[in-house]
């Protein structure tokens, strides 16, 4: 019997929603190839950013906050949440400007669409890549936090830290999908500034990274609807414990939102590009 070759449209290879995984991997591979060209330039900021935040806010502002953050150093309190937000940013860049450029300026998706790939495969491939970028961003952070921990600034105090990459991937997937959703709605690249300032920045500020959301009236209720809050709680739980039943809830919430968006976004993307 002849083994199926990747790219042949054997029906078994398609995921639900007529998404062909091998086509999606081709799209991922292209992005990875481009990333490899400039990875040295690209990867360094991933380390500068956490160091700057941790030193500036954690150590600087932390002097005034003292150990009032649920008995923790301020730097230890904010570090897991900052890592979660780094994953959010990594995925969001890919799903917004970078995706829009490929859709409308460089016309790369038109080139993909002339191959056996369909738009839903392309969207899924970009989702895989956005998740990869989130992991790369988050991993930079993780390395820096490990350095802090070893330098007797205990930030990573639980062995569950080993599962942090999975949480970062989940955050990457959810923000890739939300960014793609927004991308299907807009007609000009300038509208991403709204996505950033009215959606991502407020989430960065009010998802429990810098202070417990319960400290402001209604904060918990509002935060509960934002995916970053669940990501921050999950990453903090894995890094520092104790893990409780509510962490399963945070994970379940994110998985459910991912599933819903995964059903809707590739379809919308296809409607947008193929007409």
């Amino acid at each position: 019997m002849r083994l199926p070759r990747i790219g042949e449209s054997e029906s078994g290879m398609n995921l639900p929603g007529d998404i062909n995984l091998s086509m999606a991997l081709c799209v991922w591979r292209r992005n990875f190839t481009v990333y490899k060209h400039t990875w040295v330039t690209n990867i360094l900021p991933n380390f500068f950013e956490p160091v700057l935040f941790l030193v500036g806010m954690g150590l600087g502002l932390g002097v005034y906050v003292g150990r009032n953050m649920q008995g923790q150093d301020y730097v230890a309190f904010i570090a897991p949440g900052l890592m979660a937000s780094a994953a959010m940013n990594g995925a969001s860049f890919e799903a917004s400007w970078n995706m829009y450029i490929k859709m409308y300026f460089s016309k790369l998706y038109d080139a993909y669409l002339a191959t056996p790939a369909q738009m839903q495969d392309i969207a899924f491939g970009e989702l895989l890549w956005g998740t990869t970028r989130a992991l790369i961003y988050g991993a930079g952070f993780l390395v820096v936090l490990l350095g802090f921990t070893l330098a007797e600034r205990p930030i990573l105090t639980s062995w569950w830290t080993l599962l942090v990459p999975l949480a970062l991937a989940l955050i990457g997937a959810i923000f890739s999908l939300m960014g793609q959703w927004y991308t299907t709605l807009i007609n000009t690249i300038d509208l991403y500034s709204y996505y950033w300032t009215l959606f991502l920045t407020p989430m960065f500020l009010f998802s429990g990274i810098f202070f417990p959301v319960s400290d402001i009236p209604g904060g918990t209720t509002v935060a509960w609807f934002t995916p970053l809050f669940h990501g921050v709680e999950l990453v903090r739980g894995l890094c520092q414990g104790p893990l409780e039943l509510r962490h399963l809830g945070h994970t379940g919430y994110m998985l459910a939102v991912c599933a819903l968006l995964l059903w809707a976004v590739p379809r919308r993307m296809r409607k947008r590009m193929v007409k």
Binding site: R5, G7, S9, D18, S22, C26, T33, D110, L113, T115
Partner: protein
């Protein structure tokens, strides 16, 4: 490449094929058959519906009405569309090579979409670079290529999946004459290999040189079809006398020339006289208009288009 399981002579069959957008009909019920191994042309001005027809054939846009079969697969169902996309190669009108990759990487990445392994993609890309004479530019970035080289790179990319049908949308638009001939030469090489080629153009000379058969499109409809020379001889006369009057008003046709002239067209700067006996007509014209420039030439597809639509191709 595995042989096509469903044996069918026609590469593409369209019946009452339509494409409409909200308030605009781009393709208005066209019918044509393209045979395997032939070079088939779509000639027409910008906006005639050529590109939309091509995009329907390579399944980048849905069909609004009628039927379309490509290489034995009925377009429209998801599995059939993927199958069509796998066996049709595309050379788009616009340069959409990947600017962030080298020429070789462009080809290797696209080969992978057709199921080639990494080493197969590498070998295939070398072959393709060689075929389009770009081996020396393999490691160049796309932006370092000239217009003609980019177009050849696009042809190489279109051939990545060893297609059974290659669709070329205005392959030579915007190229200088030398690059154009260079590209034609590559297309002739494909023709010699009995490839099925489908091309759109608004250059009549390109259509006449390359196409075995063609259709002329205007405003979403097919207005004429056939072999280039037959079409010309059927629709217009063999020869044309051009009388150039420039800025001055067009001269009237003198009685002595009327029996020689089957039909005449008045353009802004010249009079076209469609004649059967070119020698006699040019002699008479030179006698009658000693102060105007008169020329005898063979009729072209442009004349066919002019006769049918009353407009020039580039208007």
């Amino acid at each position: 490449m595995a042989p096509e399981p469903r044996v069918s002579q026609a590469a593409v069959t369209a019946r009452s094929l339509r494409k409409s957008y909200r308030d605009f009909v781009a393709v208005d019920g066209i019918e044509f058959d393209i045979q395997r191994g032939e070079c088939f042309g779509f000639l027409g001005p910008n906006g005639a519906g050529k590109t939309t027809t091509m995009r329907m054939i390579y399944r980048a846009v849905p069909v609004s009405g009628g039927s379309l079969a490509v290489l034995g697969h009925e377009a429209g169902r998801p599995m059939a569309d993927r199958e069509i996309k796998r066996v049709v190669g595309v050379v788009p009108q616009e340069d959409n090579l990947d600017g962030e990759l080298s020429v070789r990487e462009n080809l290797e990445i696209f080969c992978r979409f057709y199921g080639l392994s990494k080493s197969e993609a590498r070998a295939r890309s070398s072959e393709l670079l060689d075929f389009v004479n770009l081996s020396e530019k393999a490691n160049a970035k796309v932006m370092e290529l000239s217009g003609g080289m980019k177009r050849r790179a696009l042809i190489a990319r279109g051939l990545a999946g060893s297609p059974q049908l290659l669709v070329l949308d205005e392959p030579t638009t915007g190229l200088d004459p030398q690059a154009r001939h260079n590209l034609w030469e590559r297309l002739f090489a494909l023709k010699r290999k009995q490839a099925t080629l489908l091309l759109t153009t608004h250059y009549m000379d390109e259509a006449e040189q390359l196409c075995d058969r063609l259709v002329i499109m205007d405003k979403g409809k097919i207005v004429a079809q056939g072999k280039p020379r037959e079409l010309i001889e059927r629709e217009v006369t063999r020869h044309v006398v051009e009388v150039w009057h420039g800025e001055a008003a067009a001269p009237a046709l003198p009685p002595e020339m009327q029996p020689l002239t089957r039909r005449s067209e008045t353009l802004s700067d010249r009079l076209l006289l469609y004649v059967d006996d070119g020698e006699a007509a040019i002699a008479a014209a030179a006698r009658h208009w000693p102060n105007l420039e008169t020329r005898l030439r063979r009729s072209t597809l442009e004349d066919v288009f002019l006769k049918i639509t009353g407009r020039k191709l580039d208007e």
